[in-house]
Amino acid sequence: MLERDISETLQQQVHNAVVNGAPLKIEGGNSKTFLGRETHGEILDVSGHRGIVEHDPRELVLTARSGTPLKEIEAALAEAGQMLAFEPPHFGDNATLGGTIACGLSGPRRPFCGSARDFVLGCKLLNGKGEILRFGGQVIKNVAGYDVSRLMVGAYGTLGVLLEISLKVLPRPAASHTLIQECTQAEAISKMSRLLSQPMPVDAACYHAGHCYVRLSGSEQAVKHAHEHLGGEVIEKSEPFWHALREHHLPFFGSANPLYRVMVKPAVPPLEIAGEWLLDWGGAQRWLVSDEPVAVIRERVATVGGHVTQFRGSENNGEIFQPLAAPVLVIHQRLKASFDPHGIFNRGRIYANL
């Protein structure tokens, strides 16, 4: 396992960028470059800044440098019978912890166990003045100061370079079963919505190709009883299915048309937008493959209070993320200026003027 702390090199590169007024493009494993808007600049390569700094299984906390490969972290956790409970998608073999957190990505367990941001406890950050700052910590409860570490999750590196991240980790469930049932999309939505108000050990639920999939996880007995209660057929060896869903390896994601991420309240009935649908997160995160114009999709989704991201296959210089309300954008611009006063990090990655 390669361990190296190159924070001083990174800091020097940021200082140089400030002096030269030259923007930087932050890069880890280069697995998520397709996400968000295109950004230009000299590459700030974080992939050499790697290694697990601390992992004490009894504390349920892991701290690692941001360039550490995600698979290395997952392997170390698995050895201790633990896991990243937000089940992050990798989208590539080289995925790093830093990129995963900067993009705020979570997998199928998210609606039942929490998101990437929910598990972040603290971070070491290199801001746009070249200062190394620490926020949060390695403890589960900590309310000293503003929650800057969670602000970094999903900021796509526009506020600073994540150097080190502390995460809460959880034990792996003793048992896991996946139930499958044939149904329509509307039936799946109401079935998955009902799961939210039942004390069931569910940790994933999706609708794909005319079938509703429900994953039960927990102690042997809990899973067995829940299966008896919910009914449905058990899929043997279901892990490859959830993996393919998480990594967008299912044939659904291979379409030539653009892929949209549609976020709505889970119980919202099927949306009438032309295209193919796959529902994850118990109906709360819906994937749409469609050749409808994005404006039409956004307008329709807005009527049910949702929002839309152009995930794959769209022009990467447009409104990839849902546009913000004007007063909220003002706060974003002021925050950007406060962390990155010279505007050197990942210019325009999430919005044109950030």
């Binding site: 004490d56 349920l60 906390v61 108000s197 809990a222 209070g305």
Partner: protein
């Protein structure tokens, strides 16, 4: 002469002008200025800090809040927002030259949506009232701070409140979806969404625990959870505090995440037992309360495992609550620990540090050494699952110098928490109380970054000024800044 803000002199005429204009914005009964009317607002749950505000306003619509904020912003008058006033760090302490904005009239539950397991609330809705209203659908709101009968959801968000179930169910930040807030400039913003995430920066995380410094919360949408099928509590007694600490680690190492995991030491056990008669073993040096919840099958399986771990860990006795009444009784003892300690000592000072759990033996040993050194007894109550330590220092404020010694003792404990990798506050917030200790936990550039975050929401610095984040000047005076070789870091920076 009173002043509105540093360097902004003001006189009685300006005060009268302010009050007159507030009366134009609000009905007469919603503007309080008489001393006896102001008195209930002079402090929050930390009553050692008291101050009368200039005026109290009690709006009942979002439009009124916006009008008040716009007006105060124009006049450069500081505003402190207040919920139920149960906070424990002086975060709602008023300013003598400012407006105290009470959200007490915003107490309606706007909508419960069982299909999507969420609820939309006005900020003045009491924490417990949410679970009461959701119970009809088999749902509840998870964070349960000890003040949940009285504290309100707006304050919970501002403080990022926890409770005894944090390890498994998270803090407030993990259980909210959307906020409506009014900025100091009077702008109404929607932060977060009814969906599981929202575009742009995670401002929701920033608002949680922002202690009323960024914006005034006027609406909250929370996530509701399905009520577990069963909850069961085990009580284990130990003849050694350190064995109890080890057992906590062993339960977690076995892959079990208890819903609650609480520890009390001998002083706390005796005080609670005298007060609540929960049947705690008086001869124990420490007890652990371990709550397991989930489906029937899961709870049964985990109880067996945990009992075994506790016995192996040297517990002298392990009891399982025989029924719901006994479960409540076990909890009653723990939940009444603070008032119980209040009965055995004229005063007590409650600390709120967090530490990595493995540091518990070291920290407890050090606290007991200091306890002897200062001649001040300590009762230890510990959210053991999440490393949140509440040492209660017993003292008598009427005894000359005892408060000063207590504060010094407390400060050493918090400093130790930071040294071992923890935090100066786990759930009570910084407010006024721990503002100096912020200088221990954070370096100057970090504090400067915090001030810049505040300025992004409140450029004029009028919302709850002087709380939560110290100025560098203050840290220099406190003398606890990270000073190396006699030099302040970033000596070139302006101290404000």
């Amino acid at each position: 002469m009173p002043v509105f803000k540093d360097g902004l002199p003001c006189n009685r005429d300006a005060h009268e002008d302010l009050i007159r204009k507030l009366r134009e914005l609000l009905p007469p009964e919603a503007v309080l200025t008489d001393k006896e009317d102001l008195r209930p607002f002079e402090c929050d749950g930390l009553s050692v800090y008291r101050r009368l505000p200039l005026v109290v306003v009690l709006p009942e619509t979002i439009a009124q809040v916006q009008a008040i904020m716009r007006f105060c912003h124009a006049l450069q008058v500081p505003v402190v927002a207040r919920g139920a006033g149960t906070g424990l760090s002086g975060g709602a302490l008023p300013l003598s030259d400012g407006v105290l904005l009470s959200l007490a009239k915003f107490k309606r539950i706007l909508h419960i949506d069982p299909e999507n397991a969420m609820a939309t609330l006005q900020p003045g809705v009491r924490n417990l009232a949410i679970s009461d209203a959701a119970a009809a659908y088999g749902l509840y709101y998870a964070p349960d701070p000890s003040s949940q009968i009285a504290c309100t959801i707006g304050g919970n968000v501002a403080e990022n409140s926890g409770g005894v179930h944090c390890l498994k169910y998270g803090l407030t930040v993990h259980n909210i979806l959307m906020l409506k807030v009014v900025t100091m400039e009077g702008e109404l913003l929607t932060i977060g969404a009814e969906t599981l995430d929202s575009p742009g920066y995670d401002l929701l995380a920033l608002m949680a625990g922002s202690e009323g410094m960024l914006a005034v919360i006027v609406e909250v949408t929370v996530k509701l959870l399905a009520k577990p099928e069963r909850a069961q509590v085990l009580l284990a007694a130990f003849d050694d505090v350190y064995k109890a600490g080890e057992a906590v680690g062993a339960i977690i190492a076995a892959g079990i995440i208890p819903a609650g995991l609480e520890m009390m030491d001998k002083v706390a056990i005796h005080a609670s037992e005298d007060y609540a008669h929960a049947g705690y073993p008086r001869d124990a040096e420490a007890i652990l309360l371990c709550e397991l919840d989930g489906t029937n099958a899961e709870v049964s399986e985990h109880i067996m495992k945990v009992r075994e771990i506790l016995h192996q860990g040297g517990a002298t006795e392990v009891r399982t609550a025989a029924n719901e009444a006994e479960r409540q009784l076990f909890w009653k003892g723990r939940k009444s620990a603070f008032p119980a300690v209040g009965r055995i000592s004229p005063d007590y000072y409650c600390m709120d540090g967090t530490i990595p759990r493995r540091q518990l033996p070291h920290v407890l040993r050090q606290i007991s050494l200091w306890s002897e050194e200062y001649g001040l007894p300590v009762a230890n109550v510990f959210h053991a699952g999440d490393g949140n330590l509440h040492p209660l220092i017993l003292f008598d404020a009427n005894k000359e110098g005892e408060l000063v010694r207590t504060e010094e003792f407390g400060q050493r404990i918090l400093q130790l928490c930071v040294e071992v990798g923890g935090s100066i506050t786990g759930e009570h917030g910084v407010g006024m109380e721990k503002i100096n200790q912020m200088c221990i936990q954070f370096k100057a550039p970090e504090l400067i970054q915090f001030h810049a975050v505040k300025a992004a929401f409140d450029p004029a610095g009028l919302l709850n000024p002087g709380k939560a984040v110290p100025t560098l000047q203050r840290c220099a005076e406190f003398g606890a800044m990270h000073v190396h070789h006699g030099q302040l870091p970033h000596a070139e920076l302006e101290r404000f």
